[in-house]
Amino acid sequence: MSASAKKVTRNKVTYLEAISQAIHEEMMRDEAVFLLGEDVGTYGGAFKVSTGMLEEFGPERIIDTPMSESAIIGSAIGAALMGMRPIAEMQFIDFITCGFDQIINMASKMYWRSGIPVPMVIRGPSGGGTKGGPFHSASPEAWFFHTPGIKVVVPATTYDAKGLLKAAIRDNNPVLYLEHKLLYRMPELREELPEEDYIVPLGKAITRREGENITILTYGAMVHQCLKAAQTLEEEDDLQVEVIDLRSLAPLDYEAITASAKHTNKVLIVHEDTLTGGIGAELAAILAEDLFEYLDGPITRVAAPDAPFPYAPALEAAYLPNAEKILAAARKLAAY
């Protein structure tokens, strides 16, 4: 391998490395930032996000905690109230339910009750497709999306993984940052990141592909499935599909959503989480309430079925939304 080729691969980082970089840079920038969670110290995190950080920052800023999500999140709230900027890691996002009360009853309402801001980030690996079964594949966004007082962001690319996490750490509100474990080391997502400091603002969607005929609203790992489907639709059906990556679920980018819907007049919503009461339900309600007369076809959703996440690989493959399912729904919508 030539020296220059080596250099290129080294400069292109993974989605996971982008998350590590964001934590590292923010801890360097601001002494109030610290990381706490299960196995984040000595072991370097279950997915190695915090490898080497204990050595670099010491045990007061990289804190190995007992196996209690409620204690991790509760401690983070306390620290945030005292002016710190904690990053609380959930080893798998499925276990965030053990800290549910702390988030719903404390973190999200604290500023409203006391006027004291709670600048904290809760982050962890979410999503399926990794044969993780019912306790290691959750997409928990809808529970928190429903709760006023907490922001929810879902990065789909390496650039956004870093920029959104930095923005989340600098935000003065509790932010739930949902990384997707399937994307952690995906070679296609390797990307060269800017050397200088940057953020991706919370509350701003991005158009990943422009189109005329259908808008797809999506986020997280599904962005890549949607882009794949959009490519096929262009090649085989001559349809121009616009793909909007929401990036932030709370707050939603109302303007981007409505502008695109007004442009294409047909909207398909895709998410990995289960269908009923999901993010797509709220998006559909917004479109029906505000843009009814702009719609040229039914608002359509592609999501996981309302069932627990299966373990058997064949069942998992059938359960998860994918480019094929998106393609079928888009074709039906286009023909409507």
């Binding site: 007049n265 007369e293 076809g297 023909a335 409507y336």
Partner: protein, 458 residues
């Protein structure tokens, strides 16, 4: 005594207008400022608000008829019989049969003359009409578009699943109606005033009058498989007429300067996102150039003038900058009034607002009048030098082209990479000479190059 409604003046160079559609029927009650009709002129389409409240007594000008500005187009009876109260919100359906909901009112029936039969059958729980309604499938968007264009949905065959009428069907029908001079009969339905969809191109009506220009004398047009004959829209014809007239009126001369935009480019690169997030609208090179143009005009006021037909020069004290905006339908040049009174952020906001209105086809009469000088920005299309044609009756027009990085020899004979832009001024040589035009351009350039690394937007 009925109050006459007059054809409004929509734009200063506009002498006549046509009624695109009556939004009220004779006998209808209208509130003051309620939309009465859709007026179509060379430049913009606008809804005409009623000057008074009353009953629309008589329509004097038919749909698609062109009349001079100021002509009476309708009469409104103000002291209408009080006992005749305004009609109920739910208007009768197209067939005159009673309806139970607005949706039903808007649903066309297949046979218009069912009215008489319908009266006796209205008590029947399942009248044949319900079946017809189920058969006629229409998307919400298609329904709205049909109303806006005054289209009877019976005229349209749906191509969607199950024969559903959808957007493409309406747009295809409108395009076809445009191409056929004898336009299809309009629906008798009362069309409520609905804001136009910003992203859909509005259909242009058939050209109603000929442009009185030798350049447009009828020519023998070859037809055949190798060519396609396009009838230009009214706006296209208006632009064509204006361009020929301008070239004939003003002896154009063009001069170009090169401006170093490096500091502004760097500032934009660094602050654009943040500005947009903070202010809710974006900023580009445009406000910087506008600001510099105002400064140039202050130093060389004759740039902001007009040559009159009786050979005088009118120098205008207000600086109202027209900015060229490309829309789906063609070029429009809305006005930013008193541009010299605003900060860079203020100009950015106005440019943004007027651009949005232009693209949404929502420009007002005010937007289209009183400009004194035009800044054109073809640079957004990547061009590097453009020679613009003057917007009459101005003395000049400035084109800003793309800001591109070029190797440039700087002060100490070193070569550096700088962000450069050409500014092209076309001017009326009757009013200005090269010295005046060059002086103005120098002033604009000096202002643009005076910005440092930190720029105060407010």
């Amino acid at each position: 005594m009925p109050t006459p409604v007059k054809m409004p003046r929509l734009g200063e160079s506009v002498a006549e207008g046509a009624v695109g559609a009556w939004l009220k029927n004779e006998g209808d009650w209208v509130e003051k400022d309620e939309s009465l009709a859709e007026i179509i002129t060379d430049k913009i389409n606008a809804e005409l608000p009623s000057p008074v409240a009353g009953r629309l007594a008589k329509i004097l000008v038919k749909t698609d008829e062109t009349v001079p500005v100021g002509a009476d187009i309708a009469l409104i009876e103000e002291n209408a019989d009080v006992s005749a109260s305004p009609p109920a919100k739910a208007a009768p359906g197209a067939d005159g049969a009673p309806v139970k909901s607005p949706a039903q009112a808007a649903t066309p029936v297949i046979e218009v003359n069912r009215a008489s039969a319908g009266n006796g059958a209205s008590a029947t729980p399942r009248s044949p009409r319900v079946d017809e309604e189920e058969r006629q499938r229409i998307s919400p968007l298609a329904r709205r578009l049909a109303q806006e264009h005054g289209i009877n949905l019976n005229m349209i065959a749906g191509t969607g699943a199950g024969g559903r009428v959808r957007k493409e069907d309406i747009l295809a029908y409108v395009a076809q109606r445009q191409a056929t001079p004898a336009s299809a009969p309009r629906s008798p339905m009362v069309t409520p005033p609905v804001a136009p969809a910003p992203t859909l191109p509005r259909p242009m009506p058939e050209p109603i009058y000929a442009i009185p220009t030798a350049a447009f004398a009828p020519s023998t047009t070859e037809t055949g498989e190798d060519v396609e004959i396009v009838t230009p829209s009214r706006m296209r014809l208006a632009i064509a007429e204006h361009m020929v007239r301008s070239k004939r009126t003003s002896p154009h001369a063009t001069t170009v300067v090169e401006v170093d935009m490096t500091n502004i480019a760097k500032w934009l690169e660094k602050n654009k996102e943040e500005f947009r997030r903070r202010e809710g609208y974006s900023i580009s090179y445009m406000p910087f150039v506008m600001k510099a143009v105002c400064e140039g005009i202050r130093k060389f006021p004759t740039i902001n003038s007009s040559w009159t037909e009786d050979n005088k020069i009118i120098i205008k004290k207000r600086i109202n900058l027209g900015i060229a905006v490309a829309t789906d339908m063609g070029l429009v040049v809305p006005t930013i009034y008193d541009a010299d009174n605003y900060t860079l952020a203020g100009l950015a906001k106005l440019v943004n607002a007027v651009g949005q209105r232009a693209r949404a086809n929502k420009l007002t009469i005010q937007d289209m009048q009183n400009s004194t000088f035009v800044v054109n920005n073809p640079g957004t299309f990547g061009t590097i030098i453009s020679v613009p044609i003057i917007n009459q009756p101005h003395a000049g027009i400035l084109s800003m082209d793309a800001v591109v990085k070029r190797p440039v020899v700087i002060e100490d004979d070193a070569i550096a990479v700088r962000s450069m832009m050409y500014l092209c001024l076309s001017f009326d040589h009757r009013i200005l000479d090269g010295a005046g035009a060059g002086g103005f351009l120098q002033a604009v350039r000096t202002k643009l190059q005076s910005y440092g690394r930190e720029i105060d937007m407010y």
